[in-house]
């Protein structure tokens, strides 16, 4: 009887240690908060919170454009900043010829951006109608 109780106590102790370590991991990655976010926020809102709105990849601005203009085709994106081009955000949209273009982190003075190599679209804002603008991010249409 006593040995049985001892065995149970030992098992209980070991399982408690396992459970505590597991709960620590849950706590560390804020598991329960994240489950709540996963239920209450859609994919785009979570993406929106992960990236900057208009800065670096500017995915937040792309989400805003997609919703506001109901974009259902790929629009070329030029990122004048030092971050990767975020055209992957439009991956599931169809390819269509368009006279629209998106400028992210627009600046004419970035030493790391090769203006001559990226000559498919004019870098002069005067050549476009501005359809939408937030800080250095633009949705443009060729005049």
């Amino acid at each position: 009887m006593i040995t049985n109780i001892k065995k149970i106590k030992k098992k209980l102790l070991i399982y408690s240690v396992g459970l505590i370590i597991f709960l620590i991991i849950c706590y560390q990655i804020s598991f329960f908060k994240k489950v709540y976010f996963l239920i209450t926020r859609d994919y785009d809102s979570r993406l929106y919170n992960t990236y900057e709105y208009c800065g670096k990849e500017s995915v937040g601005y792309l989400i805003h454009l997609k919703k506001k203009f109901n974009i259902n085709f790929k629009i070329p994106i030029i990122n004048y900043g030092n971050s990767p081009n975020s055209s992957w955000y439009f991956y599931d949209l169809k390819i269509k010829e368009t006279n629209r273009v998106i400028f992210l982190n627009y600046s004419m003075g970035n030493e790391n951006f090769n203006y001559e190599l990226n000559d498919e679209h004019s870098h002069n804002l005067n050549d476009y109608n501005i359809l939408d603008n937030y800080e250095n991010c633009y949705l443009l249409e060729k005049k």
Binding site: I24, L38, I39, R46, P84, W88, Y91
Partner: protein, 439 residues
């Protein structure tokens, strides 16, 4: 709620695709495999099958590919049910705490991933672009239009396939496979010795506690190679321990060869990692010569196969194009000098605090050598450590990029990737502490 449910379904879908029939497992290893052993072998075969699919199916054969995937899924599902559920009454399938714990951990990390969707710099520039080629209906022949066409594409293809096989089709569902492989490899390695379930769980949690960061799954490919290196050392350890597996070594070593193949097709440095592994095997006296020749010739065959396939696809065959273009024998001392060596060591020391497996492995190896100098497997691990360190040192000393910048951005990833070789030391050390013989 739908997304949460889809994550659960995705984990089950990956499980079905990664399952390996028990009969086939016992045909290879001459013994019955448990759920995890079937799963780890299945994952290795699954990656190989997907590689073959990527090579075989052109963009106009999409429907055929879908039919093949459905058949593959149903076939595996039938075996999964037959092996584990039909004999439920005979208690062959033990719905044990370890299996629940396995799925719970994957679910936990998947939820974490779903809330940290950020894709890493290189992943956005290279790996995601390759994935997009497949997602947009392209095939391997279109990869030549992607940046860094010298980079292999298997990881991106797995990413694409598993996001395609998901309900909602979001890209991160593809990365759940990365999580799956990672957790599976940790489970596989912690079961090399017959421990009690609770000991296993604590060991697994300890290893995961040491390694896990959500950034590991931001689209970088290191996590895949890390997990495969863990499985590689495990498969070799099992072969090394059981001398009767040598009888049909070409069969028992087949999964090991497939892992080497996957590592080569995931990252360029995979070939070097495979060479380090095979080099260490070659230094072992108690591995027979014909087995070494078999492994070497398989490796040569795989490297040549990759070379010719890259040539056929139209991809560059240079390794790390641009990274080493300025290195010449004439300017040898510009690259290898005390200042640079000191700088590399400084960064290795600094990053060891981040990739904790390295200092822990060194401490474990020092203790184990002290107690058992003649243990061949420990010597094998030592040679892996020496060769890996040599590789890291040379990879950075010979770089054409500014050394400090290159170390800053890449050393932690290389160290993390190679640390997969040494995870096995943790369960071995636990065994040692319990007073068991490592042989």
């Amino acid at each position: 709620m739908i997304e949460l449910f889809s994550i659960l379904i995705q984990i089950l879908v990956v499980t079905v695709f990664c399952y390996f029939p028990k009969n086939a497992y016992s045909f290879i290893y001459r013994k019955k495999g448990d759920f995890f052993q079937c799963l780890e072998t299945g994952a290795i075969f699954n990656i190989f099958i997907l590689l073959c699919l990527s090579l075989f199916f052109r963009k106009y054969m999409n429907e055929l590919l879908n039919i093949f995937l459905i058949i593959y899924f149903i076939f595996n599902l039938l075996f999964l049910v037959k092996d584990n559920f039909l004999n439920f009454n005979k208690k062959i399938f033990k719905f044990n705490s370890l299996i629940i714990f396995f799925f719970l951990l994957i679910f936990l990390f998947s939820v974490d991933l779903a809330n940290n969707l950020k894709i890493g710099w290189d992943a956005q520039n290279y790996w995601l672009v390759k994935k997009q080629i497949f997602t947009n209906g392209g095939d391997i022949l279109d990869l030549k239009y992607t940046p860094r066409d010298d980079y292999p594409y298997l990881g991106s293809y797995l990413w694409h396939m598993y996001s395609k096989l998901s309900f909602l089709g979001y890209e991160y569902f593809g990365r759940i496979f990365y999580i799956y492989l990672f957790v599976l490899s940790i489970f596989a390695i912690s079961q090399i010795n017959n421990l009690k379930k609770i000991e296993n769980i604590i060991l697994i949690l300890l290893i995961i506690f040491l390694i896990y960061k959500i950034n590991l799954f931001n689209g970088y490919q290191e996590i895949l190679n890390f997990s495969l290196l863990i499985l590689m050392t495990k498969k070799f350890y099992i072969f090394f321990k059981n001398k009767n597996l040598e009888k049909n070594f070409y069969l028992t070593l087949a999964p090991l060869v497939l892992i080497i193949n996957s590592v080569i097709w995931i990252k360029n440095e995979g070939a070097v990692l495979a060479m380090i592994f095979l080099g260490s095997i070659f230094l072992l006296k108690n591995i027979r010569f014909h087995i070494k020749i078999f492994l070497l010739s398989s490796f040569m065959f795989l490297i040549l196969g990759k070379y010719f396939l890259f040539d056929y696809i139209g991809l560059a065959n240079e390794i790390q194009k641009g990274n080493y273009e300025y290195f010449r024998i004439q300017n040898f001392f510009d690259f290898i000098n005390l200042n640079r060596i000191f700088l590399v060591f400084k960064y290795i020391l600094f990053y060891s605090l981040e990739v904790l497996i390295y200092p822990i492995s060194i401490i474990i190896l020092l203790i184990l050598i002290n107690f058992d100098k003649k243990n061949s497997f420990i010597l094998f691990m030592v040679s892996l450590l020496v060769l890996s360190s040599g590789f890291i040192l040379l990879a950075f000393l010979l770089t054409s990029f500014p050394l400090e910048w290159h170390l800053w951005v890449a050393l932690d990833r290389i160290m993390f990737q190679t640390s997969g070789f040494f995870i096995i030391l943790i369960p071995l050390f636990y065994d040692f502490l319990k007073g068991r013989n490592l042989n």
